[in-house]
């Protein structure tokens, strides 16, 4: 313990060889977050019925640090038999859990939230190691928001009657939940917290490339003495998720991920009528009117597309700028991109971390190549990228057209397309001209224009003069191919309840 403390307080003394000068604008000296308080086991099992158990077929897979390509741990790969066991454990736990006094369910959630806060630093480090996101984001956004979701829904647990006045509510049963790799712990919190608050039990499958924080959460769940089987966590790949969705004894599916997989899930459930919520892809329009606060808008654009390496379903990936200010905005944006530091996710000064996986990096490259081939003008930050690991420089495309793939398809990387518009109607037309409808953004100094544009945008979340801001009390979800149902807020309770007369 003493050693730990010393480590935290130790001064990073300038090494004689390091003569970097603040004045020259070269990179800041390294400021790495300490890793010694984060323990990652060599091997993780499945969390079923309150116990850690190996997969029945004994299979494991490696999870790697995308910034170094080093293996962090080996994780059990759940097969169909394990899905059976987990669903059975959740089913067994359901009667007692759903009949537990609601205030008691709330207490468990409050306890989880507090435990998460206490160990926030450890979770932040592991989230950054496993997923590649900068420690600044995992420390300041992912982990605090995850805890906030548990706190928020803990509060609802004994107030469900007030959430839906005049209705009686009953939990659905066993909820199968599948989450993506971009916000591993936060998505686990989005899924687990409302499900448990409403009295359901859960089988959660974290993403194949980022299983570690969900497994650490399993440790907290065990520490919090949650009754065995209330939360079960199965690591694995797409086939594990497929087996879970097709399991006959589940009562609800909640999925966050790609539109393609969302459609497959919907197809699989079509014949059964199992209720489901799907939070899928997006291609958000980010609209800058010519009366916008320009410097803050540029910052909003940066937060919109470069937050979490652009691995954000609601990323502001299609910039629409009014022609009169397009030149200024693009010039300022290019300048700002040169101050974004890409590199070691554990360095406190890193703005943009590693791309989550090799597969995702290849997909980004393929789409960016298509943009160049289809005639858009590419501009990338000149900041250096690390030699090892998966990296992609902050990228913008100008001279884009609505017909290009980079404008139509979700890239899910730090790649922004910029087009211009002349009138507010044209902005809204272009913004809505997409199969997606998850989020959008509007920058203007005029209140009336904000309301006009936000009413006309067909998107589930619209930010005005900010972007990518999240709060547990605010519902989140999409129109069209961006999904079904809402998560977060009061609205996020309904998908986990039968609303009875």
């Amino acid at each position: 313990m003493a050693a730990k403390k010393k480590n935290k307080k130790a001064t990073v003394a300038p090494s004689p060889a390091d003569n970097r000068d603040f004045r020259t604008g070269e990179l800041y000296a390294p400021a790495p977050e300490a890793r010694d308080h984060a323990t990652i086991e060599a091997r993780y099992d499945l969390f079923i019925g309150g116990k850690f158990v190996p997969a029945e077929n004994g299979k494991v897979f490696a999870t790697v640090n995308p910034a170094t390509e080093e293996t962090l741990s080996e994780v059990a790969a759940a097969g169909a038999a394990d899905v059976d066991r987990a669903v059975a454990a959740a089913r067994k736990a359901f009667p007692a859990w759903s009949r537990l006094k609601a205030a008691e369910r709330g207490k468990y959630l409050f306890r989880l939230a507090r435990l998460l806060q206490e160990r926030a630093r450890e979770f932040a480090v592991i989230e950054s190691l496993d997923g590649g996101k900068p420690i600044r984001e995992s420390r300041d956004i992912d982990i605090p928001l995850a805890a906030a979701h548990f706190f928020y829904y803990a509060g609802w647990a004994d107030k469900l009657a007030y959430a839906f006045p005049g209705r009686n509510v009953a939990p659905l049963g066993v909820a199968a939940q599948i989450i993506p790799w971009n916000f591993p712990l936060l998505m686990a919190a989005w899924k687990i917290a409302p499900a448990l608050a409403c009295g359901n039990t859960v089988v959660l499958k974290p993403a194949e490339t980022t299983p570690l924080t969900a497994l650490k959460l399993a440790e907290l769940i065990a520490d919090a003495d949650l009754p065995p089987g209330v939360v079960n966590i199965l690591t694995g790949n797409g086939s594990t998720g497929d087996a879970l969705v097709r399991h006959p004894d589940i009562d609800k599916v909640a999925f966050t991920g790609s539109t393609a997989v969302g459609k497959r899930i919907q197809k699989a459930l079509a014949a059964r009528g199992t209720p489901h919520t799907l939070e899928l892809g997006g291609k958000a329009a980010h609209i800058i009117f010519d009366d916008a606060p320009i410097d803050q808008a540029v910052e909003g654009i940066v937060n919109g597309i470069f937050f979490n390496q652009g691995h954000v379903c609601c990323a502001g990936s299609r910039l629409l700028v009014q022609e009169g200010v397009a030149g200024t905005i693009i010039r300022k944006l290019k300048r700002r991109m040169e101050t974004l530091i890409v590199g070691d996710p554990l360095d406190k000064n890193t703005d943009i971390g590693a791309i989550n996986s090799r597969a995702q990096l290849e997909r980004i490259r393929e789409l960016v190549d298509s943009g160049v081939r289809e005639g858009a003008s590419l501009h990338q930050s000149a900041q250096p990228l690390p030699a090892k690991g998966y990296w992609f420089a902050p990228t913008i495309f100008t001279d884009t057209a609505q017909s290009q793939r980079i404008v139509q398809e979700e890239i899910f990387g730090p790649v922004l397309t910029i087009s211009t518009f002349r009138t507010p109607d044209e902005a809204v037309d272009k913004a809505n001209n997409t199969p997606y409808g998850l989020s959008g953004g509007v920058w203007t100094d005029k209140g009336a224009r904000i309301f006009g544009a936000t009413r006309a945008l067909r998107a589930g979340v619209v930010w005005a003069n900010t972007f990518n801001r999240f709060d547990p009390a605010s519902p989140f979800g999409g129109y069209k191919e961006s999904g079904l149902g809402r998560e977060g807020g009061l609205q996020g309770l309904a998908p986990y309840l039968h609303l009875l007369p």
């Binding site: 970097r20 000296a29 410097d295 808008a297 910052e299 000064n349």
Partner: protein
């Protein structure tokens, strides 16, 4: 793209939430090791060591000047500070004490801090201070006139002050604590630069809030836009309320990332402060020796 005609140009609106968020992000920059040491030395060289009290005396001013020339006798490698800043009647004393040191001599003038003297008296005060040996003048604008919408008056008073300065540099104090909104700060910055300011400065230090990182960011962005439009570099001086080395470093991070390395020198950026010096010296001694010394090891001037 053709430039917008002058009569259609106006200061862009400033979004307060966006400014707060951006500043919060600057503050998360973690400045360590060699970057920290060179940053602290830079901050020291940018100090305007200031004494602006009714009880100022020649003895006090001379002490301050010694400190300005040799901030820490234990470390002769340290630079001298940027300037000493005093009232006009103290300029002659300071001028003598600073002679040949390279430390600039700034004087507040123009009925500091309120600015509510007659214009003639305020201009005369500038000429007096310059005549006594000040090579930098820190003027205050008429905030009442500005808030009443009399922008032409404020423009003309700054232009007149600039003329009265002759070759001395003019720093224009906006007293942002009295302007209240970021839109006002931005507009006053644009106005001051157009009217001939060499530096724009946040505050007199005689009221709270004085300099804040938020207000400084708004002014830095105004400087950046002005430079892009005209090619002329304008200096920036946050003053008042910056008391510790860590805060000073976060201001420098802001300058570096908004305006770029060209502004990272005392010709273009200054801190108006008095207690900041010793905290910087203490942090530098800590980096050199590995431990904190008691405040008694640093001179109070």
């Amino acid at each position: 793209m053709k430039p917008v005609p002058r009569y259609l140009q106006h200061s862009p609106p400033v979004d307060a939430v966006g400014i707060t968020e951006r500043v919060a992000r600057f503050k998360t920059r973690s400045i360590k090791a060699a970057t920290k040491v060179s940053g602290l030395k830079l901050a020291l060289s940018m100090l305007d060591l200031t004494t602006l009290e009714g009880k100022d005396s020649p003895g006090k001013v001379r002490q301050l000047c010694r400190k300005a020339i040799t901030p820490d006798p234990a470390d002769p490698s340290l630079p001298h500070v940027g300037a000493v800043c005093v009232y006009p009647t103290m300029v002659a004393t300071a001028h003598k004490a600073l002679k040949g040191s390279g430390v600039h001599l700034a004087s507040v003038a123009t009925s500091f801090p309120s600015g509510l003297g007659t214009l003639a008296a305020r201009l005369e005060e500038i000429r007096y201070a310059v005549g006594e040996g000040a090579d930098e003048i820190d003027m205050v604008i008429s905030r009442g006139r500005f808030l009443a919408g009399e922008f032409n008056y404020v423009f003309d008073e700054i232009a007149a002050c600039k003329e009265a300065c002759g070759t001395a540099h003019l720093k224009v104090i906006l007293e942002t604590g009295e302007l209240h909104t970021y839109d006002n700060v931005r507009r006053a910055s644009d106005l001051a630069m157009e009217a001939g300011a060499d530096f724009i400065k946040t505050s007199t230090g005689k009221m709270a809030p004085a300099a804040t990182p938020e207000v400084t960011l708004v002014m830095l962005q105004a400087i950046q836009d002005y430079h892009e439009r005209t090619g002329r570099m304008i200096g920036m001086k946050p003053a008042g309320g910056i008391r510790d080395a860590k805060t000073a470093l976060s201001y420098l991070v802001m300058v570096r990332e908004v305006l770029g390395p060209d502004w990272l020198n005392p010709d273009w950026f200054r801190f108006g402060a008095s207690t900041l010096a010793n905290d910087i010296l203490m942090q530098l001694a800590k980096q050199r020796t590995g431990h904190y010394a008691s405040p008694d090891y640093f001179s109070n001037d």
